[in-house]
């Protein structure tokens, strides 16, 4: 069995995000990049399948320019076998569906049996690409899972269903799985892994290699446009309540009721 993992690099979650120009979006010149935290669970799940000899090969898929290779190498150092980086000027400005078309074509070309993705990327927070890829491939999906039992040609995945409820979904392979926190504990790369990763192959594929219709991807095909970026509006200054515990508690209850009207 061959498994694929979609990896995206995103600003570290402890980064301060700044908008300097409302038309230009987020200023990323000063951020530290990391593998999208949810993609780390996806990678770990794939590597565990390889450890257990259930998967013969783990292939990383990344949509991004040359700068994304540092994080791809990190994934290779943790144990993935090779990587496919999708990069083509014709893909510039793609929306989620354009990116999904490229990733779906790459997953199909590689013939993976399970495609693991993160639940969402913590930059644009759209959580659209995994389900779009599944639809484009005609595969089933199980999204935001925190436990998987593997069967013969199928799997059962559990996911939180809100308010502490859970559900278990059974699906045949091939399948797209998106991964939530709690699924596993991502490993670090070993020194040996880092050395070995230097020799692993990162193939760069473009629109032609993937057999994509150029009119279906890139800026011209994008149907979603962002503008008017801003940082969150500042909150009005708050109030520190003064006094001993019974006083501040009584004052808080009064404020919540009379001023804020939330209780």
């Amino acid at each position: 069995m061959k498994v694929g993992v979609c990896l995206k690099q995103v600003p570290a979650t402890d980064s301060r995000i700044q908008v300097k120009d409302p038309a230009a979006g987020v200023d990323t010149s000063d951020v530290k990049w990391e593998i999208n935290p949810y993609d780390e669970f996806a990678l770990e799940e794939a590597l565990k399948l390889k450890d257990d000899k259930k998967a013969s090969e783990v292939v990383i898929f990344t949509f991004g320019d040359k700068a994304a290779e540092a994080k791809i190498r990190d994934g290779l150092a943790r144990g993935a076998d090779r990587a496919v980086r999708i990069d083509d000027p014709a893909l510039q400005g793609s929306d989620a569906l354009g990116i999904a078309r490229a990733l779906a074509a790459a997953a199909k070309k590689e013939g993976v049996d399970i495609l693991f993705c993160g639940k969402q990327a913590v930059d644009d927070d759209q959580a659209q690409v995994p389900a779009m890829v599944a639809e484009l491939l005609g595969w089933p999906q199980v999204l935001a899972v925190d436990h998987i039992d593997y069967g013969d040609g199928s799997l059962r995945a559990r996911r939180p269903a809100g308010g502490g409820a859970t559900e278990v979904v059974e699906a045949p392979l091939p399948v797209v799985i998106s991964c939530d926190k709690g699924l596993n504990e991502p490993r670090y790369a070993s020194l040996r892994g880092i050395m070995m990763a230097k020799k692993k192959k990162i193939a760069v594929l473009g629109v032609g290699d993937l057999g994509l219709d150029p009119s279906q991807v890139g800026a011209a095909a994008a149907m979603v446009a962002e503008s008017n970026w801003s940082e969150p509006p500042p909150r009005p200054p708050g109030r520190i309540l003064e006094g001993d515990t019974p006083q501040v508690v009584a004052e808080l209850v009064r404020l919540l009721r009379e001023e804020a009207k939330v209780i």
């Binding site: 989620a96 389900a131 409820a165 008017n228 801003s230």
Partner: protein, 322 residues
Amino acid sequence: MGNGILVLCEHEAGQFKKTAFELLSKARELAAELGGPVHALVLGDAPAAELGAWGAARVYQATGLPFENTGPKVRALQAAVAAAAPAVVLAPASLGAKDAFPRLAARLGLGMASEATDLRVEGGALVARRPMYAGKAFADVRVKSDPALVTVRPNSFPVPAKGEGSAEVVPLAVELQDGDLAAKVVERQAASSNVVDLTEADRIVSGGRALKSKENFDKVIRPLAAVLGATPGASRAAVDAGYAPHSEQVGQTGKVVNPSLYIACGISGAIQHLAGMRTSRIIVAINTDPEAPIFQHATYGIVGDLFEVCPALTEALGSAMK
């Protein structure tokens, strides 16, 4: 060109969720500017005609299929889009819509905006305002496709009082195709308590690292949440230390929440936690450290020991809310 707005109205065992009323009321307001009718889509058995009192002129209702599965849900959405020919399709940013909407977008070649927190009409078109980077940045999103697909974060709009009227209910025929039930829900575990999910909660009481143990978390945070009818939440530090389960984590790698009232107990306010709760209407911070960043975001702050303040607050609220 499509016309009007179609709203996916979710229900739990026949009882409409608050998001159904939030979205219908907002849709009515938007449709006054955009033009066209407000229609609803209901999957499964629920009193569909009632939605007329919230602004739906017509309700497309599909029944008799296992709509807990993604395949039938997408197929029904597809049928409803064909029947209603709307310019905009709205859904709550729920588990079910997150499963189905991107598939619908890919199937029909549509654009989609996820988790909008505000909607408005500009130049005759819908503009969705949405947070990104877990709320560290916002942008306007315009979706050019016909229809445009938009999911909306719960609690983004007020629920007005119930109006008058009853909607026309139109049965929607949905035909499943091969593969629609390839992935199937085979097991469901109900929640141990019947609290509202964090993402939909109107009140949240969260605990942080300062709780020091699971026992303390259970003894201090949960009773305070219970007395308020609030959902308990936790910081990443508290979850990583095992004081609370992952499902209760608030922040960039947990749930992004949007309640009217958020009480943060013993939470310093790390940037990734703030990202998950900063849109809360009222924030109360209880922390021993007056320099904790959480105080810069709090509507009301109490500098004090949570082990003293929280039980006192639980007691005071207990009598105040009777």
